[in-house]
């Protein structure tokens, strides 16, 4: 409520126009002979920063890759990779494959929780119940205030009850991991919501005769697509990297399986870490491309 009243009034009619074609100003800048102004950095500055930071970040990944080819006898070998496909060793890696499967299922469930439970409530709060915004933010940031190791102590009794209702399959972990993902999913959507005046946009669309579904699907969600995408990205990353809950609740997920196999075969653990990093990266890359292509084809 206060945020709306303190908002500078004059550009109210401008806001929806500015908010809709997000890509416009950047096209102008790319063509630019004109002197730079505003926040945009020089291209050389950008490249130097990105290359230096990128190189430092690639180093540990490269070191993992080199390690995975290291032979026990010194020198290098592809033997560790062949081990994975060796039928004689299949039993050794069985747990790992179960863990991977469980973790992928958990990704779907957790993203669904964010999209079906969190996102509608955030939009509804912004549009209809702005007084509840602080409450929602408090709830969503609470899992940061309560570290996972602590929350797990409370999850243990909750899950002993839950497993009587739903069984003790790994997918039930999705509810707990969804809570851990809340703050990270909430942040990008909230920042996006704060940057787009959805109230004015919605009022404009409604006054033009759009129904709520149309407002939601064609006005609100397209304006929030970067926030929503970032929320999904980060949720998937949270699920794939989640170790604490699974290990304390004794479920087999990718991370707990990695720790187990690391004791018997560190090379295979590193190989699968690498593959998982690459797979997650490619997956998120695909989602990211989809996100930036979709609105363009709509124009």
């Amino acid at each position: 409520m206060t945020a709306i009243s303190t908002r500078p009034a004059p550009d109210e009619s401008m806001t929806p126009v500015q908010a809709a074609p997000a890509a416009e100003p950047f096209v102008a800048a790319r063509a630019g002979r004109s002197p730079r102004y505003g926040a945009k950095p020089a291209r050389a500055t950008s490249l130097v920063i990105l290359i230096v930071v990128g190189a430092v970040f690639l180093l540990p990944i490269a070191a993992m890759a080199i390690f995975s080819f290291r032979s026990n006898q010194g020198g290098y070998t592809v033997g560790h990779y062949l081990d994975v496909f060796n039928p004689a060793l299949e039993y050794t890696y069985d747990g790992l494959f179960v863990g991977i499967q469980n973790s992928l299922g958990l990704c779907v469930i957790t993203v669904a929780i964010i999209l079906v439970l969190l996102l509608p409530v955030m939009i509804l709060t912004e549009l209809r119940y702005p007084k509840l915004r602080r409450v929602l933010e408090f709830v969503c940031l609470l899992p940061i205030t309560i570290p996972t190791v602590v929350l797990v102590v409370g999850f243990i009794p909750v899950y002993s009850l839950l497993s009587q209702l739903l069984g003790s399959d790994a997918w039930t972990l999705g509810f707990a991991i969804g809570v851990i993902a809340l703050p990270y999913a909430y942040r990008p959507i909230a920042v996006n919501l704060a940057g787009v005046d959805v109230v004015t946009l919605t009022e404009a669309a409604r006054s033009l005769g759009a129904g709520w579904l149309s407002v939601l699907w064609r006005v609100v969600i397209p304006n929030l697509r970067r926030g929503i995408l970032a929320a999904c990205f980060i949720t998937i990353a949270v699920v794939l990297g989640e170790y604490t809950i699974a290990s304390f609740l004794s479920r087999t997920t990718f991370q707990t399986a990695l720790v187990l196999i690391q004791h018997t075969d560190p090379y295979v653990a590193v190989i699968f870490s690498l593959i998982a990093l690459l797979l997650a990266f490619v997956l998120l890359l695909a989602i990211g491309r989809l996100g930036s292509i979709r609105p363009r084809s709509k124009d």
Binding site: L50, P120, L124, P147, G178, L213, T244, L284, R296
Partner: protein, 297 residues
């Protein structure tokens, strides 16, 4: 699903403006139930455990743990590690965000950085530990190469100590900063830059008078988020450090070593201590958020 459906329901009916008395509140129910079941109840159970003996009797004697010099030393370790990784992570992360602003927001480079950042931001834990053991562990690639150049034993691995963990933590703190700070930087309106240029201001003027002041609340808000992330992160530390040194490891030790008499509910007590620290941080975050929101509309 229910939430969406009720939104629809509220919309089909009247065209009244600002109908507060509608059925929209039904849309709040599913999330509320979820939050109570999987956040409220576990949180209360976890904190409450600090106030009880293992037999279930109410007590405050568990709080004598805060007099333990080891616990106090580990608190300092935790705070130092979190502060160092949050400050460095926020500065470097903000620089990366700034650099990204020069890239086409729909371009491939932008997508690659976004994707890589989200993969790394929450890849704390085991895989991160593997990566750093392979790089600067005792037999790590970089350590081996450096010792070949400068003679054996010149460099030893830094990652098995608490200060050395800062390096490892930066590997997920910087990407997290990129992910959380980028939207705020993108919310800077081009019109503000145009206005400064029109009035004859330089780019430095723009940053000094417009950019920095407007971004400051979001920047420090994100930094606090990074601090919180380091402070409560434990899997990475657990994989690299065996002798404790930060509070999350103390909690793990207290939770797993149930055989030590008198320490059963120490985890709940340290947890409560952590929450006190976090509540202070989050209050500051709330204030900064309100300031940031003022300009992002």
């Amino acid at each position: 699903m229910t939430a969406l459906a009720s939104n629809r329901g509220a919309g089909v009916t009247p065209r009244r403006r600002g109908a507060r008395s509608g059925t929209g509140w039904i849309g709040l129910i599913p999330f509320s139930v979820y939050a109570i079941l999987f956040l409220g109840i576990p949180a209360v159970l976890a904190i409450a455990s600090g106030f009880f003996t293992s037999g279930g009797t109410f007590t405050i004697s568990n709080f004598s743990a805060f007099g333990d010099p080891v616990i106090l030393k580990d608190l300092v370790g935790s705070l130092g590690l979190s502060a160092a990784s949050a400050i460095l992570g926020a500065v470097v992360g903000a620089l990366v965000c700034y650099a990204m602003l020069g890239m086409n927001p729909d371009g491939w480079l932008r997508t690659i950085v976004d994707s890589a950042a989200s993969v790394l931001a929450q890849f704390g834990g085991v895989m991160l530990a593997f990566a750093f053991i392979a790089t600067i562990g005792n037999q790590g690639l970089l350590i081996v190469i450096l010792n070949q150049v400068f003679g054996p034993g010149t460099f030893s691995s830094p990652i098995y100590t608490v200060p050395g963990l800062t390096l490892v933590y930066l590997y997920f703190e910087i990407p997290l900063m990129v992910l959380t700070f980028m939207p705020a930087l993108e919310a800077l309106k081009p019109a503000w830059g145009e206005a400064v240029a029109t009035l004859g201001g330089s780019r430095w003027t723009y940053w000094r008078k417009v950019g920095f002041p407007i971004l400051a609340p979001a920047f420090f808000g994100c930094m606090i988020l990074l601090f919180a992330n380091s402070f409560s992160s434990f899997a990475t530390a657990a994989a690299l450090i065996s002798q404790g040194g930060i509070w999350p490891l103390d909690i793990q030790r207290a939770l797993t070593s149930e055989t030590v008499v008198g320490h059963e509910n120490e985890a709940g007590v340290i947890a409560l201590g952590m929450i006190v620290v976090m509540v202070v941080l989050m209050s500051a975050y709330g204030v900064l958020q309100r300031r940031a929101a003022r300009w992002e509309r």
